[in-house]
């Protein structure tokens, strides 16, 4: 099938405003949804589902969260993992303290708690900008980590400060296999990703981008800076919070606060840099890249075989390649994988003609 939009005329603004205005794209999206909901669970084994695809999806959600804040609203944040931790611990406490609540409600409320914490730490953003703000968000990161390590109530007074997700039930079904956890994660991520896409093409998304691109003219048009920035912090943290809850319930099962340390924040930041700052699709592509690259390099190392030197070199090479790729991407394509995808699509649209 050729990728052409000739002959597809939009007869109403509604059609032009559709999320995928080109017919082939719509077909592709439906095919993709079918694939991820039906084919993937049938084809992939537990290893792929449980320890690659599920965490990848969860981190994509966190990356969407960060992308809303950093990519769309332009507020650089290094506190992502902190907000994920709020979600994780909120879901756990809701789950064990208010067992009547359905699990999905726990997850959503966990997001709401994370959003509230995010908004508190977003308050300084009105006065502080750029790198100063980035460093200030580190305060959130370290402070949140500290609170969960030191306030016993949050971990139900577990002596080692570790929380362990209770068994999951949704509508009487028990969620415990890799496939079930994958489907739960996928559903949550798919719905929230669609919501994010809708928001960024609506009024609120435009107001975020306006603040990012030129805050003064945004304000002159009537976009209130503080509440817009706070909404970005809140909604971004909501996504991170839900991601944190999923990370605990559907991936690790047992977590200590250190599971949400600064390295996790950086990991998510790298995802949006490589995937594409200001792109929902990019959040997925970036998460895929960052999750899969080390595994790929590690597999190559394993294929080459063992021997101290190679193994040591490969492990460090992983860092070198990783760092190198980030620089490479910034130089070659600052807009990340999402832009490459777009370019590829444009090429395909014209193919086989060069122009």
């Amino acid at each position: 099938m050729l990728y052409r939009e000739a002959g597809q005329f939009k007869t109403s603004y509604q059609k032009d405003q559709a999320i995928f205005p080109i017919r082939q794209d719509r077909i592709a999206v439906w095919a993709l949804l079918l694939a991820v909901f039906i084919a993937v669970p049938l084809l992939a084994d537990d290893y792929w589902l449980g320890s690659i695809i599920t965490p990848l999806l969860v981190l994509s959600l966190a990356a969407i969260g960060l992308n809303i804040l950093t990519g769309y609203a332009g507020q650089l944040s290094l506190g992502t993992a902190g907000f994920m931790a709020v979600g994780a611990f909120a879901a756990y406490n809701l789950n064990i303290r208010v067992p009547e609540l359905p699990l999905i409600v726990d997850f959503l409320l966990a997001g709401v708690f994370a959003a509230m914490v995010g908004m508190v730490f977003g308050l300084p953003s009105l006065r502080i900008k750029g790198f100063y703000l980035a460093v200030a968000t580190l305060a959130a990161q370290f402070f949140i980590e500290w609170v969960f390590t030191h306030v016993g109530w949050f971990t139900n007074y577990s002596s080692s400060g570790v929380i362990s997700a209770p068994p999951m039930h949704i509508l009487g079904m028990t969620i415990d296999t890799a496939v079930e956890k994958y489907l739960l994660t996928l559903s949550v991520v798919a719905v929230l990703a669609l919501g994010a896409k809708n928001m960024v093409r609506s009024r609120i998304g435009r107001s975020w981008m306006a603040v990012r691109d030129k805050d003064i003219s945004a304000e002159v048009i009537g976009v209130p800076l503080l509440s817009t920035k706070l909404s970005a912090f809140g909604i971004s943290s909501f996504y991170c919070g839900v991601a944190g809850a999923l990370w605990t319930y559907c991936y690790l099962g047992t977590v200590e606060p250190a599971a949400f340390d600064l390295n996790r924040s950086f990991q998510v930041l790298f995802m949006i840099i490589i995937g594409g700052v200001g792109s929902i699709l990019g959040s997925f592509l970036g998460a895929g890249f960052i999750v899969l690259l080390p595994i790929l390099l590690n597999n190559i190392a394993a294929m080459i075989g063992h021997g101290t030197l190679q193994a040591d070199t490969m492990a460090n090479l992983e860092h070198i390649i990783f760092g190198g790729l980030i620089i490479f991407f910034l130089i070659v394509e600052p807009h990340g994988l999402a832009r490459l995808w777009q370019i590829a699509k444009e090429k395909l649209r014209l193919w086989p003609f060069p122009y």
Partner: protein
Amino acid sequence: MKKSVLASLAIGAGLLAGASTPSPVMAQAMEQFMPIPIYRTGPYAAGGTGYFGGFMDYMAMVNARDNGVNGVKMIWEECETAYDNARGVECYERLKGKGPTGAAMFHPLSTGITYSTFEKGTADKVPVVSMGYGRGDAMVGSVFPYTFPLVTTYWSQNTAKIKFIGMKEGGMDKLKGKKLVNVYHDSAYGKETIDILNKQAAMYGFEIKHFPVAHPGLDQKAIWLQIKQFAPDWVILRGWGVMNPTAIKEAARIGFPREKMLGVWWSGSEEDMRPAGTAAKGFYAAGFHPAGKNFPVLKDIEKFVQSKGKGNIEAERMGTIYYNRGVVTGIISMEAIRTAQEKYGKKPLTGEQVQWGLEHLNLTAARIKALGGEGLVQPIKTSCNDHEGGGAVKFQQWDGEKWTVVSDWIDADKSLVRPLAEESAAKYAKEKGITPRDCSKEM
């Protein structure tokens, strides 16, 4: 330019898919697979490379000298975790099904990764063995069938430490009125012993103060000034990585005698002492095995592996604490496989079968001698209910260059640890809705 990026992405995707498809299963291969979730990078790389270096060297030696365990060759594969929980889980999942029969067992070498994998291990029937780390209550095998905190847990070790202090003070009754400080890494690992220390403080009548050190612990002045003011008789150090030499140096700066400091085994490697230089002289550390190369088993490794250039670590790191811990791990793991083979036959075993071996381990003094590990390994006997087995600790002192053993095996106070573990395990079982196995019915 753009095109080449796309092309390389496509190639990368292909490689990824190719690399991770499981290698064709050779059903008849006489091979037993062992996962190696190593960390060669990050702040704790010294521990990861030393420990797994020793472990792999031991397995290589068994393969070269004895043609494997009863003719079943050990094979293994590394997976880099970078000491990150999430990557540890991925490594566990990646490696658990490799080899003809899947992973024999899984050594996470990280309390965090232990926490993240032990439930998966139970579900997959892969024993998760946390030798000298992990959760203390997992010794209760009826609740944690596939989790083995072998040799000694933090809790057991802690009681041995108090015994050692008692010995140094001239009797346990002399502990009354003494002041102790627990300086710990502010993480799940560091917090493990707070409760038991408080219990013991009440028991023996000493005063205990806990000081958490925020990760990574680069600067601990404030804490050590407080310690100076508190003027304790002893300081117990539960550090990890860079926190250890820093703590020892800070102790030196406030003039606290290092002879009154006692480290957990993660605070007791050469890597922890050397950066502290002369300040570390006199420091004690607990350990379930000594350092040094003067054991027959290490000589065999030298002969069959290292001298042939097949070592998994630089030769000069042989005999260090981390390396020897890896060797001890190897000895005990191989013995568990051998034990299981007695029941299931001399062939590659599944994790479920190895679990039986781990649960019926009986490493006697004579057997240890035969394995060339006399003085390196302590006798261990496990059961369905007791997944710890040993529990004894040796103390060593740093003389500025190397470790010297200064005590015999000191047994843990099981009468104190066991009820605590059972209480905690019961709480866990209740939270998770687990019905404990009835160990009287197990064979």
